[in-house]
């Protein structure tokens, strides 16, 4: 604005020019408003269904069954529905199994994929591109349907319906993603830092331990969280590989879906949704890292 005013002082601005300028300003403001409008509409599109399910889960079962429902959320607020869900048969063991499977998956996937991610980001070696491409291919392929043959094999090996074998399958599902995320995390740490450490007398292992590791830990944590969420959410492979005595939470909900009441279902849906709401917040930065790298 000040530039405009100084111009006004020196140059006689014709009213037409000023009109054009005003129009441009108005258009800019309009497009800004439009951007906000679209942004907010899209946000509502994402948030309103979550609000619906949350207000169903956080009220009394009587309200859940009432009709027509109030569109305003949480009226009246109560944890009764959620408690009813958590006290239902098989839910607490299901949650325990889900957590056990997810933690094993997380450890397994991180331990296996961290070296591979490091190798991709730090070395150029024959077959590197083939390796990366095949990982991408695996990422894209429907590995979930491979649970059928795995079920047959697990039955033969007597490790069917078992949290460990399910976690192994989930780790395989997560592996491509974690490798790619971790390679981008390692790539974001300049190699000079490692080199400098070695110049000052560190062994390569020490340089990794004291320089690289502290810097990549947040990234590794992000990948681990991603793996956790993936395993927590996964229902197809889980319902094929462990459908009897070691059901995870989603499997328990899925299998009892037909005979369960709406308060149970809604509370279950909301409960499964919570971890992803929290975790995605922490790892959102790394999601973009990963896909930016892939499309290059």
């Amino acid at each position: 604005m000040s530039v405009l005013e100084s111009q006004k002082a020196t140059v006689q601005v014709s009213p037409e020019v000023r009109a054009i300028h005003r129009r441009m300003l108005r258009r800019q403001r309009l497009s800004r408003a439009l951007t906000y409008l679209i942004a907010i509409v899209l946000s509502l599109w994402v948030l309103i269904p979550i609000l619906f399910i949350a207000s169903m889960a956080l009220t009394t079962p009587a309200v859940v069954r009432s009709y027509p429902k109030g569109v305003l959320p949480f009226i009246p607020f109560s944890t009764e529905t959620l408690r009813f869900f958590l006290n239902s048969r098989g839910i607490v063991p299901g949650i325990m199994n889900s957590i056990i499977v997810a933690v094993i998956t997380l450890v397994l996937a991180t331990v296996i994929s961290a070296p591979a991610g490091y190798a991709i980001s730090r070395y150029i070696f024959r077959g590197r591109d083939v390796f990366r491409l095949s990982i991408l291919a695996v990422r894209a392929f429907p590995i979930v349907v491979l649970s059928i043959p795995l079920a047959v094999v697990f039955l033969r090996l007597n490790i069917y319906d078992n949290v460990f074998s399910l976690a192994m399958m989930h780790a395989a599902l997560a592996l491509p993603t974690t490798i790619l995320v971790l390679s981008s995390v390692f790539a974001s740490i300049p190699y000079e830092l490692e080199e400098a450490a070695q110049v000052f007398g560190c062994s390569p292992a020490q340089a990794f331990r004291y320089i690289v590791l502290p810097l990549v830990l947040p990234g590794i944590a992000a990948a681990a969280i991603f793996t956790f969420v993936l395993s927590w959410n996964e229902v197809f492979a889980a319902s094929i590989l462990a459908p009897l005595h070691n059901r995870t939470l989603p499997v328990q909900v899925l299998i009892t879906l037909d005979e369960s009441s709406e308060p149970y279902q809604f509370a279950g849906g909301f409960f499964m949704l919570i971890p992803s709401l929290i975790f995605i917040f922490f790892i959102r930065r790394y999601l973009f890292n990963m896909w930016g790298q892939i499309t290059k």
Binding site: P68, K69, P115, A119, A140, P142, F236, E262, L277
Partner: protein, 464 residues
């Protein structure tokens, strides 16, 4: 960084990277490549389809022929054969027990040998239930030889060492279990075949002279499972719905994702909050999404509540019923768009970050409208990202499962992944389930090849 790294390589051949990727290679081979092959094998290979007939009642004797499972057979003879202890677990075994006995012949001479357990009545047992002593059973059938023969070995064909009178007391020294082998005859393609088989493969009925092959010992390739899949009444609807969903979901997702990415790129205040909101669905399980949208579309759900409060309807409509399949499709469509737009958006935003701001500003300076900028600058530069997103989304769309199960109950509207699950879990038909799985794999491979080809030819055309 790359020149430094290549400098590292020039020093010497470095094995470190191979060691580092080795665990993941092994893991992917075990849990990806190998099951994929197994899935194909399960789909086309029938285990135990054929039963091998042996020339003699020996497992290593010459092959006399093979007959398929289910063949009617006549049983011509039978004989007991020693069986290994670990094989006793096997189902459908027909066994004979023989006792090693010691007793006195009518002449007063002591003899020792083997007799079938059915000829001996056990009179005394040890603490663990093993028979210690007994007596020879009398033969009830008139005209039969009143004596019971004692054999040198637990085999009816072996040498007879002596004969015992009915009711003669015997000591039982040992026992052994034999598996019965049958000499069977059958007609295969108007040719009579004959040979020995183990009882575990055969079901005997009637007076013991007729039977049926229950289970084979050799597998063979078959198209039976694939035919079963193709003839299943749910196959065509499942395939049709899966493809329909892909066609109606993916374009909407891409439009939405690009709009979201443009909003983020316009960088309004609070854009990081918007970004977080748009990515929320990325981490939500498909089962939870199904339930979320179920709460909207169920009979006493939100949609009806809102419509009723607005006075648009008088009584709740049941959307998710067999007579309103289009509503189920709409619900699945909304749920999938809601859930899976986030991944496309993330890929598109990542791709947009690599478009230089100068190019866009230059276009703006030269008077390009928003639409022109999208059409002629952003979309062409985004093509690699869009390609990846398209491949990924399409292949993932072949696997929609929980959303469909929740919203349709899994029967009214069904998809390929749900049929795989149904064949495995409800019908216990692993082979047909593997056929479905292999079919999904095949579709995915074809899709990937199709997209890669399509984009490459476009580039070649543009390049020439």
């Amino acid at each position: 960084m790359s020149n430094r790294v290549s400098g590292k390589r020039r020093k010497k051949r470095n094995w470190a990277p191979y060691l580092l990727i080795l665990p993941s290679l092994i893991y992917l081979a075990l849990f990806f490549a190998w099951p994929m092959v197994q899935s194909l094998i399960l789909a086309v290979r029938e285990g135990g389809a054929l039963l091998t007939l042996r020339a003699e009642a020996q497992r290593d004797s010459a092959v006399a022929g093979r007959i398929p499972r289910g063949t009617q057979i006549s049983i011509l003879d039978q004989q007991g054969n020693l069986i290994a202890a670990e094989e006793l677990e096997q189902a459908n075994l027909i066994t004979e027990v023989w006792y090693q006995i010691r007793g006195q012949e009518p002449g007063g001479q002591e003899i020792e040998g083997w007799a079938p357990a059915e000829r001996i009545r056990v009179r005394e047992q040890g603490e663990d239930g093993t028979p210690i002593a007994g007596s020879v059973r009398p033969r009830l059938v008139g005209g039969a030889d009143p004596f019971t023969q004692v054999h040198a070995e637990a085999d009816e064909d072996s040498e007879v060492v002596g004969e015992l009178e009915a009711r003669a007391p015997v000591e039982i020294l040992d026992q052994t279990t034999l598996e019965v082998w049958y000499l069977v005859g059958a007609e295969i393609e108007e040719q009579a075949v004959e040979g020995w088989v183990q009882s575990r493969y055969v079901q005997v009925f009637g007076d013991g002279s007729q039977g049926r092959v229950n289970q084979g010992d050799t597998s063979q390739y078959t198209t039976r499972y694939i035919q079963q899949m193709l003839n299943n009444r749910f196959f065509t609807p499942a395939l049709r719905t899966t493809l329909l969903l892909i066609v109606i979901i993916i374009p909407v997702q891409f439009v939405l994702a690009i709009i979201m990415a443009l909003v983020i790129q316009a960088n309004p205040k609070g854009s990081s909050l918007f970004l977080y909101i748009y990515t929320i669905a990325l981490g939500v399980s498909d089962l939870a999404v199904g339930i979320v949208w179920y709460s909207v579309f169920t009979q006493f759900g939100y949609l009806n509540s809102i419509l009723q409060r607005l006075g648009l309807i008088d009584s709740p409509i049941t959307y998710l019923s067999a007579t309103r399949q289009h509503w189920i499709i709409i619900a699945i469509w909304l749920a999938e768009v809601w859930r899976a737009t986030a991944i496309v958006m993330v890929i598109v935003v990542a791709g947009m970050q690599s478009i230089s701001r100068e190019v866009l500003e230059a276009a703006e300076v030269f008077g390009a409208t928003l639409w022109q900028r999208i059409r002629y600058i952003i979309l062409p530069l985004l093509r690699p990202s869009l390609q990846v997103a398209l491949i990924l989304r399409t292949i993932l769309a072949f696997q929609v499962f929980a959303v469909v199960v929740v919203l349709s109950g899994g029967d009214v509207v069904t998809v390929l992944a749900n049929e795989t699950y149904r064949q495995y879990y409800d019908l216990r038909n692993v082979n047909v389930a593997a056929s479905y799985a292999s079919f999904i794999l095949l579709l995915s491979i074809l899709t990937a090849i199709f997209y890669l080809r399509a984009v490459r030819t476009q580039e070649e055309v543009a390049g020439s």
